[in-house]
């Protein structure tokens, strides 16, 4: 695919940045309804580029990668809202078909999630300054409310800036994967992707499991799905 074949209109870009603000803010600040999960944000990204199914395919894989990182206390975890949106939009923008493009979109989504995590850390530090000194804020509750809302606004800005900065580069990079057909070596790429999904599923499952005693259930779920596939599930 030539770069000149790509067209990302300014209206779509603006909508994507606005959606990036919403999903960026949702994860922690407001309202935590989980539009920030990659399953949703990548679908939104795909929808904006006219191919929600392509977006969700990216989002479903990124979701398995993200599920092993519950947001416990001050732990660091990938910021999946803007990352999923960018990756889903990028794959949709280049047709949503080529496996090479899918692999690039996934790699970009994963990396951007961790770049987003750094911005979350910076934001936590900035909030420390915004919300002090305590005595001054306590003396003026209106100021406390104002600062709290500014902090939420900054989080929205953070999500929007991430999408604004990375959407076009991600689309251009993902387009490199279009037209590169499978080969003998390339076939192993697919195996690596599938094993990556297996590894992420295995580690994600431990979040829900109590210890390691549930492994037969993990295997049984996979086995049942394989039997369904053999039975002719589309």
């Amino acid at each position: 695919m030539s770069w000149t074949d790509l067209y990302l209109g300014p209206g779509t870009w603006i909508l994507a940045v606005a959606a990036g603000s919403a999903v960026g803010m949702d994860a922690v600040s407001w309202p935590q309804v989980m539009i920030s999960r990659p399953l949703v944000s990548a679908t939104i990204g795909g929808l904006l580029l006219g191919n929600p199914a392509a977006g969700m395919l990216v989002g479903a894989v990124l979701e398995l990668y993200a599920m092993r990182h519950p947001p416990l206390g001050a732990s660091r975890y990938p910021d999946t809202g803007p990352a999923g949106l960018v990756a889903g939009a990028a794959f949709a923008a280049v047709g949503g078909q080529a496996l090479g493009a899918l692999l690039l979109a996934l790699a970009i989504g994963w990396a951007l999630g961790w770049i987003g995590a750094v911005t979350v850390h910076v934001r936590r530090r900035v909030n420390e300054r915004i919300m002090s000194p305590a005595s001054e804020l306590a003396a003026d509750p209106g100021l406390l409310e104002q600062r709290h809302r500014i902090a939420i606004g900054l989080d929205a800005l953070r999500g929007g800036v991430l999408v604004a900065s990375f959407l076009i580069p991600a689309v251009l990079a993902t387009s490199l994967g279009v037209g590169t057909g499978p080969s003998a070596v390339g076939g192993y790429a697919l195996v690596a992707l599938v094993l990556g999904i297996a590894a992420s599923a295995g580690s994600a499952a431990r979040v829900s499991a109590f210890g390691i005693r549930g492994w037969p259930l993990l295997l049984a779920g996979g086995g049942a799905a394989a039997l369904l596939l053999l039975g002719g599930l589309p």
């Binding site: 309202p31 989980m34 679908t43 969700m56 395919l57 479903a60 979701e63 398995l64 990668y65 599920m67 092993r68 519950p70 416990l72 206390g73 496996l99 090479g100 996934l106 790699a107 994963w110 530090r125 909030n127 420390e128 919300m131 306590a138 003396a139 509750p141 709290h148 809302r149 902090a151 994967g177 590169t180 499978p182 003998a184 070596v185 076939g187 790429a189 195996v191 690596a192 992707l193 599938v194 990556g196 999904i197 297996a198 590894a199 992420s200 599923a201 295995g202 499952a205 829900s208 109590f210 549930g214 259930l217 993990l218 049984a220 779920g221 996979g222 049942a224 799905a225 394989a226 599930l233």
Partner: protein, 250 residues
């Protein structure tokens, strides 16, 4: 006495309780922000006591964001009853642990994963992407809103006694039964998603061999989740590199 509208405003503000989350007070400033509609009514006409109440409400606090609604209403109740500030501080400290643990176990470890997996399953079984996302969002947020609202109402009713409510709380018991389903769905989703990605792509690769390798990989990652997560990331990057190396070699 706070009016119903004050309590409704405080409940609505709990959705933004983590808005100013920071390493100093964690969710503390957010708790004060959410409590303000209650505190303003309780200390109407007494700016000195209002300032004192806001200052103690801003102290360091942590908890699951949905269950912080319980802290907001219970602390508001104590302020309304004129409870001794030292007792309020002890109560805050005692509440931090359970609100975090219970919420993390019930929501982050069980309810959210199972809803996500149902959403992905719907997609890989042929439901449209918008419908699949909607299934996840509606299902998950039904639980989210119920827990948040229950927590707020229970906190207001129980005041100092919320600790007793949290022991074996209904949603922790209920969600605790979801773990087998979570494991079954994780295995099923991984296989179905992989099959979808492999469909018609590379015929030379044996599906049975990949299934076997995938099972071993998943079990190894389950046993060693931290290393498994790292391995998953390396495999993802390796996949992209291999594809392009293959392209270059023809």
């Amino acid at each position: 006495m706070p009016l119903r509208s004050d309590r409704l405003a405080a409940w609505a503000r709990t959705f933004a309780v983590q808005g100013s989350w920071n390493y100093g007070t964690l969710v503390g400033t957010g708790i004060a922000y959410a409590m303000l509609p209650l505190l303003r009514r309780i200390y109407a006409g007494d700016p000195v006591r209002l300032r004192e109440a806001v200052e103690r409400s801003m102290g360091a606090f942590n908890g699951h964001p949905y269950l912080c609604a319980m802290a907001v209403s219970a602390l508001g109740r104590l302020e309304q009853e004129g409870t001794d500030p030292e007792k309020i501080e002890k109560f805050r400290t005692a509440l931090r642990g359970p609100l975090g643990t219970v919420g993390d176990r019930a929501v982050w470890a069980q309810w959210r994963p199972v809803c996500l997996l149902v959403g992905i399953l719907a997609f890989v079984l042929g439901a449209g992407p918008v419908w699949s996302a909607a299934i996840f969002l509606v299902l998950y947020n039904a639980g989210h809103f119920i827990i948040r609202t229950w927590a707020f109402l229970a906190g207001w009713e129980a005041g100092l006694s919320v600790g007793r409510l949290l022991k074996g709380v209904w949603f922790e018991r209920w969600s605790g039964r979801l773990w087998p389903l979570n494991l079954l769905l994780t295995g099923a989703v991984a296989v179905l998603l992989s099959a979808r990605l492999m469909a018609g792509q590379v015929e030379a690769i044996s599906s049975i061999a990949v299934l076997g390798l995938g099972s071993v990989t998943a079990l190894a990652a389950f046993r060693f989740p931290r290393q498994g997560g790292h391995m998953a990331a390396v495999l993802l990057m390796l996949a992209a590199v291999l594809w392009f190396v293959g392209g270059l070699l023809g």
